[in-house]
């Protein structure tokens, strides 16, 4: 039990607008500590929707989600934010950096919010993460001055800043050229080798083949796991 990070049972999700559509049909699965899991499936099969529910960013669903041994349904919005801050690192398809801030500040913000460490230590950690991803020389630039691949690496650094239990990615290479895509994948692979748990949604078959475990979805159901 202590080995399981995510335990989803019978997750059901509807979209209400414009008509009521069932996107997820009783999805049940688990992710264990240290696993590098990819979720694949056709466009519109519900894989991103599932990921948003697992990441606690979407609370409008039925079924039970247990994250790190805690039932998420019973938590308030503020408590969920706390969970996201401390235990989940999220990488979007689009980088979603705050354009008003520098690269370094973007990486630091979740750490400053957690406030377990002082600003000095957070900054040091952020620099280490950027260094690890090979973009420490961009730290003082504004976020919108970077190239797509660089931005995505900053987003990964941001996801790592609080040493989360799991990194979740919603097509993190989907918007990158193949060279940058490979670079990002290698970063994930390295992280997995260091024991980091990852759950990545992708439609890239090659990408998925190289992960520990593939969950394939079709029409709101898991057909292979």
């Amino acid at each position: 039990m202590g080995n399981t990070i995510i335990e989803a049972s019978k997750i059901v999700k509807y979209f209400h607008d414009p008509v009521k559509v069932q996107v997820l049909k009783e999805v049940t699965f688990a992710v264990n500590k240290g696993e590098f899991v990819s979720v694949i499936g056709k466009s519109g099969c519900g894989k991103s929707t599932l990921l948003y529910i697992l990441s606690t960013m979407d609370t409008d669903y039925e079924g039970d989600l247990v994250f790190d041994g805690e039932l998420m349904r019973s938590k308030t919005h503020n408590q969920l934010a706390q969970v996201r801050n401390e235990k989940i690192g999220f990488v979007f398809q689009f980088h979603y950096l705050l354009p008003e801030f520098t690269v370094l500040k973007n990486v630091m913000l979740p750490g400053l919010k957690l406030a377990k460490l002082g600003p000095k230590e957070v900054e040091q950690n952020a620099m280490e993460k950027l260094q690890m991803l090979g973009i420490e020389d961009q730290a003082k630039k504004q976020a919108n001055q970077l190239s797509g691949g660089q931005k995505q690496r900053v987003a990964i650094a941001r996801a790592l800043i609080n040493n989360p239990l799991i990194i979740m990615g919603d097509e993190p290479t989907g918007n990158l050229d193949s060279k940058n895509g490979r670079l990002v994948f290698d970063i994930f692979k390295d992280l997995a080798a260091q024991g980091q748990s990852l759950l990545i949604v992708t439609h890239d078959q090659d990408f998925a083949e190289k992960t520990d475990r593939i969950i394939e979805m079709d029409d709101g159901r898991i057909i292979r796991m």
Binding site: Y52, S55, M57, D58, T59, D60, H77, N78, A81, Q82, R84, N85, E86, I88, F90, F92, F94, Y96, L97, L98, P99, E100, F101, K105, L109, P110, L112, K113, L114, A115, G118, P119, R158, N162
Partner: protein, 420 residues
Amino acid sequence: MAVSRLILSISKTLLLARLKQSIVAAAGVTFGIAMFITLMGFMTGLNSMLDGLMLNRTPHVRLYNEIKASEEQPINLSPDYAGEINIVRSVKPQDDGKEIYNGPAIVKALRADPRVLGVAPKAVAQVFFNVGVTDLGGSIHGIEVINEEALFALSTYVPQGNITDLENINNSVLLGKGLAEKMLADIGDVVPVTTARGQRMNLKVVGYFQSGVADIDNMQSYASLATAQKLLGKTNSYLTDIQVKLYDVELAPELAKEFEAKFGTEAVDIQAANAQFETGTNVRNIITYAVSITLLVVAGFGIYNILNMMIYEKMDSIAILKATGFSGKDVRNIFISLSLIIGITGGLFGLLLGFVFQLLIDQVPFETDALPTIKTYPINYSASYYLIGIGFAMVTTFLAGWLPARKASKIDPVVIIRGK
């Protein structure tokens, strides 16, 4: 503490990143507040000037003696004729005329009253000004210059000359402007005066008095109390009017009745004497309130709109912040502090700009016969409008930040992200 400093630094960065937009938003606040302060200062300045035209010159309670025949004729007091119907024809008033009996004692008693702001006694003499072969009717008000100035700002109505000369120069007079023009009397001239009883006296002109009401300026002149008493051939206890100003003008009707009973004189209060003027004041006040509310509502909507737009533009940032673990409360606080920074800076500049506008209006020439000493438009620089202005700026910007941020803080971040 660390988190709230983080939130402030985030708001600051968001503001500075779009500096131009932030300035436009703050300028919206600035102009709204500046206009409010300017107009309120101008309108209430005009209002109080108009009120002052009449009310400042009018005592809150005036004690005087009505000339009337005694109701108790001797025959009614006689026990021999009690129960009979006594008719006395051609009853005449007694010869003490308009004199307030025991005037100085009443003045002393009134000055000791804690509700009374000040007392200015007066002796009014009906006179003829002799101009060659013609006599011009008029009245000379003998006053205590210091008290008259303190209570009724007499010098405001004296375009030329110095009122203290009335006390300093023996047998001096402050001529009504209209009267002076008819007599061609300049300052320093001596004008002959005859009282209704035939006493003659030469008075030296030390200045002009101009109230703006032609009837008064053609009739009325001022002299010192002693001069008037001398002119009338009376002792220095002779008073015809006692003018009282109160701390609370609303008490005037009540106190007038009380004084009437206590001192055995007639007493008239300002509300009774100027009822029609009260109505005018009330109407003007209603207009002022209506304008001020309109201004605030218009300014408020302007501020609200600008800030609302600004926050909706930053919805993405809200989603990102929430995805990385900032709570709804954090997001709300970020946007509230962002709005308040705009509100406070915009508001403070508004106060400054409002003050500058008021100073400008204060320079615009405004000449009126009614108020000879006023040369420019009157402005009320009351601090209360500045306080209302800055308070309003803060409340509206707070609401303009709080309402959309509250909505944004409640929805799941994915709703914003998916909406892209």
